[in-house]
Structure formats: structure tokens, C-alpha cells
């Protein structure tokens, strides 16, 4: 029994991290209609920044999340404004290829700077956790889940309670109409991407405390984000949270099942995704296309 509860807890905790990875990806996809293949590289940037601040200056990784978010916000704004805005109206294949190219550039620059070695952030409280009734809850993972949920709530608040959020939702609903009422398209696109990148930066910081990081993982993060967003559905922050938690649970249960084992984790994730998409193309909680994103 406690084994089952332990798996449930671990699944939810892992799902929290997955939610963090997927939040920015879902925002960019929903608003800009771009499947951002650079996302994993942005997550990596956040992870390496947190690692660098921790290992060189001894800055606590949770404190390091703030500069990670800030730096990624700036990188994201510049990337969208200077590069991706150039093909924003092109067919999807082109944005796909463009973001893949940018991903290649960033990942290989990271490889040149940090080498292919596995790095991890290990503060002194890394091993400790909460224990109750035979169930262990590692502090760091619990904090990661909390921060991911906070990030989701914050993102929803920005989208629904601020002027910037209103502009972003307007652009997502109808570009031309938004432009007519005075929304600066180029700026709003860049801002949306910047917010997405900042979320990626925070998620990266969280990952660096939980797993070892290496430049080769970029694609895996992007795929994770994709599966989570598809499972939950596009255009809602809460859908991403649900998708992330479900994905985390499925993965933990699949890994601990002796008949399936860890070898099939990607196959299960994609199998699940293909089934969901075939039955219900807009995901479990997604909005129909053409409606504004929201909570």
C-alpha cells in the first residue's frame, strides 16, 4: 500500500517538474502558433546558469532561479524580435526548421562552453526529505512542484489580470483585429516568447537540482513539453498543469512496473499522446482553436 502511495507521490512530484518545462512551451504555441523546438535549449540555458552561479559563486540554486528567469527573458525577447518574427506568417514547416536551427546553435555553443560532462547542483540539503508512514518526500522535489505550480498561477494571473496579458490574448485570438485596436504585434510576440523563455529558465533551474544536465538533453525536454501540452490541451494554463501531472504519474507507474520497465518510457508517452490526439485532437482540457488562451 505504502508502495503505491510512494509512487503516487513521486509521480506527482515528477509531474510538477514536467509542468514547469511545458508552461512556456504551451504559451508560445498557443499564442504565436509556433512549435518552439528551441524550448529545450532554453531550459538548458536556465539549468546551466543556475549550475554556474551555484558552483562558481555558491549562490543557492533556488535563489539562482531569479537571475535565470531574468536572463532567459532577455534572450527570449531578442530571439523572437530579431529572428523568429521574420517568419511568423510562414507555413509551420518553416518555423519548425528555423527553431530547430536555433536549437542546434544554442546546444552546440553550450557544448563548447560547458563540454558534454554531466553536471548537477547539490546543495547541502539535497539528500534530505520528509518522511511519514513509510512514504518519503524529498524536499527539493516538493519545492520544485510548489514553484512550478506558483509559476502556473503567476502565468495565469499575468494573462488574465494585466494589460500585457490582455494584449497577448488579443493577439492569440485574432492578429488583425488586435493590430487594429493598437496592439504592437512585433512587441507583443517578443514579450510572449520572452515570458515563455523565462518559464523555461526557471524550469531549467529546477531540473539542475533534480537530474544531471548535459547539452544533449535539449531534445528530450522539448519532447516532454510537447507531450505534456498535447495531453492537457492547448490554450489553457490549467490544462498544462493537468497534462504535466498525468504524464509524471504515467511515467513513474510505467517505470516501476516490472513487465514494462524503464526502456519503454518514451514509447508509452508517445503512445498515450497519439491515443489522446486521435480521439480528442484538442487534448483533455484544450480550447477549440480560434479562442483566446486563459486559465
Amino acid at each position: 500500500m505504502s508502495g503505491l502511495v510512494q509512487q503516487l507521490v513521486l509521480g506527482l512530484l515528477l509531474g510538477g517538474v514536467y509542468t514547469g518545462i511545458a508552461l512556456g512551451f504551451g504559451l508560445v504555441w498557443g499564442v504565436l502558433n509556433i512549435v518552439n523546438l528551441t524550448h529545450g535549449a532554453l531550459v538548458l540555458c536556465g539549468a546551466y546558469l543556475t549550475w554556474w552561479l551555484f558552483s562558481s559563486f555558491g549562490i543557492d540554486p533556488f535563489l539562482g532561479l531569479l537571475p535565470a528567469a531574468g536572463v532567459l527573458f532577455v534572450i527570449g525577447y531578442a530571439l523572437q524580435r530579431l529572428v523568429i518574427n521574420r517568419v511568423i506568417r510562414a507555413p509551420l514547416l518553416f518555423t519548425f526548421l528555423l527553431t530547430f536551427g536555433v536549437n542546434l546553435v544554442i546546444v552546440n555553443l553550450l557544448l563548447l562552453i560547458f563540454k558534454a560532462d554531466f553536471r548537477s547542483v547539490t546543495p547541502h540539503y539535497a539528500g534530505s526529505g520528509l518522511e511519514a508512514g513509510g512514504v518519503t518526500v524529498p524536499y527539493i522535489r516538493l519545492a520544485a512542484l510548489s514553484i512550478s505550480l506558483l509559476l502556473a498561477v503567476g502565468l495565469a494571473a499575468v494573462l488574465n489580470r494585466t494589460r500585457v496579458g490582455a494584449a497577448i490574448q488579443a493577439v492569440a485570438a485574432d492578429r488583425e483585429a488586435a493590430q487594429l485596436v493598437g496592439v504592437d504585434l512585433a512587441h507583443t510576440y517578443a514579450l510572449t516568447f520572452a515570458i515563455g523563455a523565462a518559464c523555461a529558465g526557471v524550469a531549467g533551474g529546477l531540473i539542475s537540482m533534480i537530474q544531471s544536465i548535459t547539452p544533449g538533453s535539449s531534445g528530450q525536454y522539448t519532447l516532454t513539453a510537447f507531450v505534456v501540452v498535447i495531453l492537457g490541451g492547448l490554450g489553457r494554463v490549467s490544462a498544462t498543469v493537468v497534462g504535466g501531472l498525468i504524464f509524471g504519474l504515467v511515467e513513474i507507474f510505467a517505470q516501476s512496473n516490472s513487465h514494462i520497465g524503464a526502456g519503454y518510457s518514451n514509447a508509452i508517452a508517445f503512445g498515450l499522446m497519439v491515443i489522446v490526439v486521435s480521439i480528442r485532437p484538442r487534448g483533455l482540457m484544450g480550447r477549440l482553436s480560434g479562442t483566446a488562451p486563459g486559465v
Binding site: 512549435v35 526548421l97 542546434l104 519503454y264 497519439v274
Partner: protein, 337 residues
């Protein structure tokens, strides 16, 4: 102007035909007969490796072009068919001792059946969803293959060695010519017009009486068969296959980049793209830090192609467009904010 463009085009076609002839004849200088006549050896191991790889990518990008370029369905997992073809041939040759010539024929068949099976549900999806669902299938198939014991599991499959650079070069080149010929034919038939109509507007295509499901699945199966055939040749050529070397995710992107770089939706575009890009990749191929920089270069090439020459290099050879500052500026204006 148009007369001059026509002349340029004829000259370029002539040059291309001449180069192709030389490339196809060059390997013959390595045969014993040619050597006994005292002909200079014009090829070596590396030459064969590069030329066969180029031919392989011509197949992959031409095949992708049928579903991606002509039908407008951005398949991102075509490498699955390559792997399925390679494993079909390898399994028959290594485990059931079927002669290679017969086992090779199974590769396109199995790949096409696989494409029909996944195409029926997946081709209902559009845009990004289709792209990622196919990518997911390719990742998932690789993982399943890696875990199934009869297929060698993570150890892969070893085939009996066939040492003949000449055979595999001509086999792959023949597959490439087949792929280009099929593309050329498709573009000139009712079937091809149906695919283009689906690309431009699927609802309108359905309204004028095109059975869109049948057309899409057929295009997908056709692409899969060609890709699978290349996989089958690769399996015997490379002697050893495993999930890593026949399902590389990079190939998914490379074949698309080649088609787009050359000009997607045309018969010759993928060929030009494959030869250009593979030549660039091979020219920069080396170990260490330089390899990392060449990846950075590839990324920048990808980005600039997409931004500035979205219709591909072939666009400049039709006599309609010329590479000018104005052309680049128009590319930006057409797709920018």
C-alpha cells in the same frame, strides 16, 4: 529575357547531366578489368562512402517531398520507415537466411504497410499535430525495436558481410533514380494534381471529388516504400544495424532541410538540396571542437535558408527569380510581422 533564361537552363541541365554521367562512370575505374587496362583509379573507400550516403539522402528527401512537399503534410518521423525497412531486410537475411535480393524487396513492402497502418489514424491530424505525432511514432518505434529480443534488442543485428562498394553504390544510386523518377511521374499524373490540391486546400479538394484519405495515405505509403527501400540497402551495406543507426532523429530534420533548401514540391529540388547539404556536411566533417562548430554552422544555414530563400535554390534556375537584394527583402516582407 526568357530566351536567355531558357538558354541558361539548358546549359545548366547539360552540365548537371555531364557531372552525373561522370559520377556514375567513375566507380567503374575501380574494377579489376579497368585496372588491368591501366586506367587511373578515380575513387577510393571514402569516395564510395560519401557518394552512397549522398544517394541515400536523395532518396530520403525525395520521398519526404511526396508527403511533405507535394501533399503539404509535414511528416517529421519518416526515419521510422527507414528503420522499419532496414530491420525487415536485416531480420530476413540474418535470422531466416533469405537471400539479400529477395529480403530487399520486403523492405518497401513492410514500410508501406506500416505507413498505411499509422497513416489512417494520423493523417486525420493537421499541421503541428501531424508533425509531432509522426515524430513520436519514430521515437516510439525505435524504442520498441531496442527492446524486442527477436530483433536483437539493444545489441542490434549483424548481417553476413558483403564486401562490394561498387554494388552498394549502384544499388543506392538506382534507388535514388527511382525516387526521383517516381516524384517526376507523380507530379505529372492525376494523382499528383490531387496531392497538390490537398496541399493548397483540403476541403476544396474534397469538394471537387478527391478521395482525400485515399490520396494522403497513398502518398504516405509511397514515401514510406521508397524510404524503406533505402533502409534495406543501408542494412546490408552497413552490415550492422541497431536502433541508434537506423532511427537517428537527425535524419528526420536533415531530409526536410534538404527538400526545403533545394525547393520542396518539385522533382529536382530535393536532389539539389541533398547534394548541396551533404557535400557541405562532408566537407566540414571532422572530429573534436571543429565538429561542434560545424553544427553551429548548420544551424545558422538552416535559419538563413528559412528566412531568406524559403522557396529553395531551385527557384533561381527556373528563370523567374534572381538572387538579388530585392528578392531577399521580399522574402522577409512576405512572412514577417
Amino acid at each position: 529575357m526568357s530566351e536567355r533564361a531558357g538558354l541558361i537552363r539548358r546549359v545548366l541541365l547539360g552540365v548537371a547531366a555531364a557531372i552525373l554521367t561522370v559520377v556514375m562512370v567513375m566507380p567503374l575505374t575501380s574494377t579489376e578489368t579497368a585496372q588491368s587496362w591501366g586506367l587511373p583509379l578515380m575513387t577510393d573507400k571514402l569516395w564510395f562512402r560519401v557518394a552512397t550516403t549522398v544517394a541515400m539522402f536523395v532518396v530520403l528527401s525525395s520521398a519526404w517531398n511526396i508527403i511533405g512537399g507535394m501533399t503539404g503534410y509535414a511528416a517529421f518521423g519518416n526515419v521510422a520507415f527507414f528503420g522499419v525497412g532496414a530491420y525487415s531486410t536485416a531480420f530476413l537475411v540474418a535470422n531466416l537466411h533469405v537471400p539479400f535480393a529477395i529480403a530487399l524487396l520486403a523492405a518497401p513492402g513492410v514500410a508501406a504497410l506500416f505507413a498505411i497502418a499509422i497513416g489512417l489514424p494520423l493523417l486525420r491530424l493537421r499541421g503541428h499535430y501531424f508533425a509531432i505525432a509522426t515524430l513520436g511514432v519514430s521515437v516510439a518505434v525505435a524504442e520498441v525495436v531496442n527492446n524486442v529480443e527477436p530483433l536483437g534488442g539493444s545489441n542490434g543485428i549483424f548481417l553476413p558481410i558483403v564486401r562490394s562498394d561498387l554494388l552498394f553504390f549502384y544499388l543506392m544510386a538506382a534507388t535514388a533514380i527511382l525516387a526521383v523518377a517516381v516524384s517526376w511521374l507523380v507530379l505529372r499524373t492525376r494523382f499528383g494534381y490531387g496531392l497538390l490540391a490537398i496541399r493548397e486546400n483540403e476541403e476544396a479538394a474534397a469538394v471537387i471529388g478527391i478521395n482525400t484519405t485515399f490520396y494522403k495515405v497513398s502518398a504516405f505509403a509511397l514515401a514510406a516504400a521508397l524510404t524503406g527501400l533505402a533502409g534495406g540497402v543501408f542494412a546490408q551495406w552497413n552490415v550492422f544495424i541497431n536502433a541508434e543507426n537506423v532511427f537517428p532523429v537527425d535524419y528526420n530534420v536533415q531530409m526536410i532541410l534538404m527538400a526545403v533548401l533545394g525547393g520542396s514540391g518539385t522533382a529536382l529540388g530535393p536532389v539539389i538540396g541533398a547534394v548541396t547539404l551533404e557535400a557541405l556536411i562532408q566537407a566540414f566533417a571532422s572530429g573534436g571542437e571543429f565538429a561542434v562548430w560545424s553544427q553551429v554552422g548548420l544551424g545558422i544555414l538552416l535559419a538563413t535558408t528559412v528566412i531568406f530563400v524559403p522557396r529553395g535554390i531551385l527557384d533561381f534556375f527556373g528563370g523567374q527569380s534572381r538572387l538579388t537584394v530585392q528578392y531577399l527583402r521580399n522574402s522577409l516582407r512576405r512572412t514577417g510581422v
